[in-house]
Symmetry: C2
Subunit: 487 residues, 2 copies
């Protein structure tokens, strides 16, 4: 009933032009067709009654009947005898996509190029993976548990692993207990499950601008409305944030406290505290995604937002894909108590549980090998690559582009000079066998064209040198072309 | 704008009683509060303007102002200066749950009892898992690939595995090619991802009645409307199905072609063909979940719906949890071409990919060990348990309960005598250390109280014997109690 009134409101906004050469019934049908294909009129909802519609537009009922018939012929609507005309579901291939799929496609195609200089990989090179330790762990688990290693597992995760992870989180300044820890198959699943547990159609979500497309895609696919909060050098603009908090009541705010994807920005301690105050004041939650803790190249320790979270406002999602190995598909969420049950159920209907075998192996690894040594190695390695990257950028980019020096993380976020579009640069670099990520991938509208992101963790020093030289040369060439074509 | 009109339509349906002792502003506030907590009024949508509302109800504007103020005090609404009053998002703990969470809870608590006679497990016992073969596979993959085994993986899955799986599917009569195969982390994830790719708020989904709660939960959580089609002994009632297909245009029909969860029913060849005809005629898709192919105890081969699918209407989801090992978290989808891209994107925003390490190990296992021997062993073992189960049921249940003889699968679906409620029986059996699944778990309304499901794959012959005796005794005791308490 409600939906049909909604449809009436929409359809009655159409304007019919009686002086047009296009017959009125066709004008009406075309107008309604547009609303169906744009997803404005919901599947299986009713079109307004023929008489009422004719009255509204001041036309004969035959006009409406013909319009509906035309739509039915195109299979855009269907009729039920005695009860009216209803909107057909869109064909599967025409369902509006919740994700900026263009982005995914280019991302995927980039990955398949061989021997390219690939600035898009954000995880450690294979040689840095603790493969031998995990081989020992897998075998020890199989010898100990036999088939038991492969049974169904509690949806929250393997209890001894959750205990280990609490000890591990203490190193990050995060104090929690196993009943607050949910095991997940990577950070992306964490975001997806939190959305499933908490987001309902029409809810508002605040994200940083720019933000990570994978997260935005998960929110959008749940019917969330995204509001972008601009980033400054030390975190979100808190004035704009509070103004928006007065206007909207977001279900949650999605952010990264340090080495943000894509900008590399870290929040100041002041902004972290302010963010928590505002979440409390306006009664909302914060999703903190933490991918890069161990990649800090400063002496100063960094502090996760969750470590300051005395009011239980932060849902902390930790990935092991960057610091450990992406192929494990492993991560954790630290949950405020209120959402335990909902998240556990969401995990169950998502994939029942994360592989119990891999969970057991990770537990063995953490217990027998500890974390410190691998983390220190990874940090040392990341720091070397970072300094190599900076020195090459100074040589080849500093005269034509700007970039922050995050002193951590695995990427540089580079602002291009006016006149050089990021999309154009990226596609021309592909011809030079260099793969970069354009800023549009991190922009909900897809319109950003000023930035590129260069991830350096998985490249040899030589490739960093050659890659940045080629990028700098190309930017200069494009600037010159532009100069030459000026009127 | 639209949402505020929708809210007006809803709120103007309220009746205020001027003669009541309860002040009018309070009546109005309570009416609106009910609509907010029931989720009728969407978060962040606008309440109708004060003057218009006052006019509608024939009251002073002060009454409306006071009603809105009361709601604001309760934090159910919030106001924006100059633009009106808006519905607050419900607190997280009050969001209407999409899943029948009661079911999940009892399921989980059942799993934690030790030494119980557990009739809820549907996978093979640990001793039947091919652990040694997988140990070899894991080590071979690590020796061959080193760290490469743990890199990010194409969202569709490991190409050589998808090739292996096509060969494997040929044994089932399913001919397909690797580009139609999507690797998933278990069948439940398959259902979740298909929902993400295809379902939009308001879409209709047809399910069997009764059906699997995990699937229903995934559809509901996407805003799907479920229509239940009753099952007969040889599949859905095709007359009712066609009648509903005339009334609604479902996005898809979810079903299992044999050894259905929970009833154990298999479709006749005639109904399988009819189902495909109807899907084509009414332009919809069928999701076929296949968990139990290899557990057929008859001489006759069984035929998946997908094997008959010449029109590409079937999305075939195959689990490896039952026949292989649940802890692998591995499965596959065979996709019609039209939905490839959408499903790949859904997988990406769900968990990027299934563990590449486990995918590689499964590929090695299939290549080096083949499938035939393990499947034959599992079938032999399942058949023995099934016959043991039937003979014990004949002894202890046949005088008081009815059950089908599916000659396949891993469960019996038992109809209780009138006067013995399934919920009551299940909770009383818990006291006797026997865990069963009540029929309500497979009913969307949760009201079914006539059936229990007994899964036998993971029980010793002794436990089957003792368990069924205890159940039979309890049913008889409950019938006697009922007889004694008759007036």
């Amino acid at each position: 009933m409600i939906w049909s009134i909604l449809n009436m409101v929409e359809i009655f906004q159409l304007q019919l032009h009686k002086s047009s050469a296009v017959p009125l019934y066709q004008q009406l049908a075309e107008g309604i067709e547009g609303m169906i294909t744009d997803g404005v009129l919901l599947a299986n909802s009713k079109l307004p009654p023929i008489r009422k519609t004719a009255e509204h537009f001041g036309v004969n009922t035959v006009t409406i009947v013909n319009a509906y018939k035309l739509l039915e012929k195109k299979q855009l609507v269907y009729s039920r005898v005695g009860s009216g005309t209803f909107v057909s579901p869109l064909p599967v291939e025409h369902i509006p996509e919740p994700v900026a799929s263009r982005n995914l496609r280019s991302f995927e195609s980039g990955l398949s190029m061989e021997n390219a200089i690939n600035f898009t990989s954000t995880s450690l090179p294979n040689e840095m993976f603790p493969v031998d330790a995990f081989k020992e762990a897998f075998n020890a688990v199989l010898d100990r548990e036999k088939g038991g290693a492969f049974r169904y597992m509690d949806s929250m995760g393997y209890a001894p692993l959750r205990e280990q992870l609490c000890r591990y989180l203490m190193n990050y300044g995060i104090k929690t207990s196993p009943e607050n820890v949910q095991i997940i198959s990577g950070a992306q699943q964490g975001i997806d499950i939190i959305s499933k547990a908490m987001l309902r159609y029409g809810d508002v979500v605040f994200v940083e601008k720019p933000t990570f497309y994978g997260a935005a895609g998960a929110f959008l696919s749940r019917g969330g409305k995204l509001i972008e909060i601009p980033l400054e050098e030390d975190g979100m603009d808190m004035v704009i944030l509070e103004n928006f908090l007065k206007l909207y009541h977001p279900r949650f705010i999605y952010m990264m406290a340090y080495y943000q994807t894509p900008t590399g920005i870290s929040y100041s301690m002041e902004k972290k505290r302010r963010l928590l105050e505002l979440a409390e004041k306006y009664d909302t939650y914060i999703i903190e995604e933490d991918d890069f803790y161990d990649f800090h190249y400063d002496k100063e320790p960094i502090v996760p937002l969750k470590a300051l979270d005395y009011k239980n406002r932060v849902i902390y999602i930790k990935s092991f894909s960057k610091i450990l190995m992406p192929g494990l598909r492993m991560g954790l969420i630290v949950l405020p108590k209120k959402i335990h049950q909902a998240v556990m159920e969401a995990k169950y209907t998502t994939d029942i549980s994360t592989s119990g075998f891999i969970q057991r192996a990770l537990e063995y690894y953490l217990r027998e090998f500890g974390w410190g040594e691998h983390a220190a190695q990874a940090r040392r390695y990341g720091g070397e690559k970072y300094r190599k990257m900076l020195s090459a950028a100074r040589k080849y980019l500093s005269d034509v582009a700007k970039y922050g020096q995050p002193n951590g993380g695995v990427s540089l976020w580079v602002e291009l000079p006016v006149g050089v579009g990021a999309e154009a640069l990226c596609s021309r670099m592909l011809e030079k066998n260099v793969i970069l990520t354009p800023g549009s991938q991190y922009d909900i509208s897809g319109e950003e064209n000023r930035h590129i992101r260069l991830s350096f963790l998985n490249l040899s020093d030589d490739k960093i040198e050659v890659g940045l030289k080629r990028i700098g040369d190309m930017i200069r060439a494009m600037l010159e072309e532009k100069f030459l074509t000026l009127p």
